[in-house]
């Protein structure tokens, strides 16, 4: 079985996503972790594109790596994370406490990989996507505003609730309620 260039690209960007996610989880500095998270999201966008979903890839870059990450960066700026935060995270990340659980988890991971690889009946075509075809934005849009119209409406309600809740939570507290909350 020869490895084509697209397949190679998929594996490379997939391993970049896994590595960057690992760095996000093990990093002590919040800004560095955010940078790795952006890399992970971009690698996943590459995976989406290679799987024949260019619309999802574009959305991943615009919304996730653009908007949501900017939100995170502004929040980190407001939080003003100092050395005590970094030191406290350090004590949870010593490698001695991770050896045993990681070893056992690796065995379980091996079992999952084995089961997935030995499974031969995926849908109608066995063992592989025969030829990845493009699913373009037109098909997604006509499906989104056809059978899934109710889901779009519910998502808009969700975003409105998120907007109102975010405004309510992050605004300045009035003075008398803060003293009341502090005394309890």
């Amino acid at each position: 079985m020869n490895i084509e260039s697209g397949q190679l690209l998929f594996y490379v960007s997939g391993s970049i996503a896994v590595l960057a996610s690992l760095f996000v989880v093990t990093n002590k500095n919040a800004v560095h972790a955010l940078l790795y998270l952006v890399v992970s999201l971009l690698a996943l966008a590459m995976c989406f594109y290679l799987l024949g979903a260019p619309f999802a890839a574009a959305l991943q870059i615009i919304v996730y790596a653009g908007a949501i990450m900017v939100l995170f960066v502004f929040a980190v700026m407001i939080f003003n994370i100092n050395q005590t935060d970094i030191d406290r995270e350090q004590q949870w990340l010593t490698w001695q406490s991770w050896v045993g659980p990681s070893l056992l988890a690796m065995i379980l991971l091996g079992e999952i990989v084995f089961v997935l690889l030995s499974q031969q009946n995926w849908a109608t075509n066995p063992s592989s996507v025969t030829q990845i075809e493009l699913v373009d934005a037109r098909a997604v849009g006509s499906l989104l505003f056809g059978p899934y119209l109710l889901a779009v409406e519910i998502a808009s309600f969700l975003l409105l609730a998120g907007l109102v809740g975010g405004y309510h939570l992050a605004k300045e507290l009035p003075k008398k309620t803060t003293t009341q909350g502090g005394s309890q």
Partner: protein
């Protein structure tokens, strides 16, 4: 191009597990939020994979819905963290044991 679908699902499982480990092991709520983003992304990748397996646009539709859920979750979560920082002056999840649960 042919990518065996099992390899894609192995990638999904790996990413999801990394996100779960981060969520369980970190004490900083900001990092917990980031780990949840990784887990949501793993779920989205699973839907895109299924969509390309059956050559249907449904996977990408569900991906868009996941994207809007993630946006709302991040907005509310970061607002909560800002309030937390004002309230207890810290982002440590262990300091939130007022309810003694």
């Amino acid at each position: 191009m042919t990518v065996p679908i099992e390899h894609g699902f192995v990638l999904v499982a790996l990413l999801w597990a990394i996100g779960l480990v981060g969520l369980l092991s970190r004490k900083n709520t900001l990092f917990m939020l980031m780990s949840m983003e990784i887990m949501l992304n793993a779920g989205a990748l699973a839907f895109i994979l299924a969509g390309s397996l059956w050559q249907q646009a449904d996977g990408q539709v569900i991906y868009i819905l996941i994207l809007s859920i993630a946006a709302a979750e991040v907005g509310l979560g970061l607002a909560l963290l800002i309030r937390l920082r004002q309230h207890i002056g810290d982002l440590d999840i262990d300091k939130l044991d007022e309810m003694k649960g």
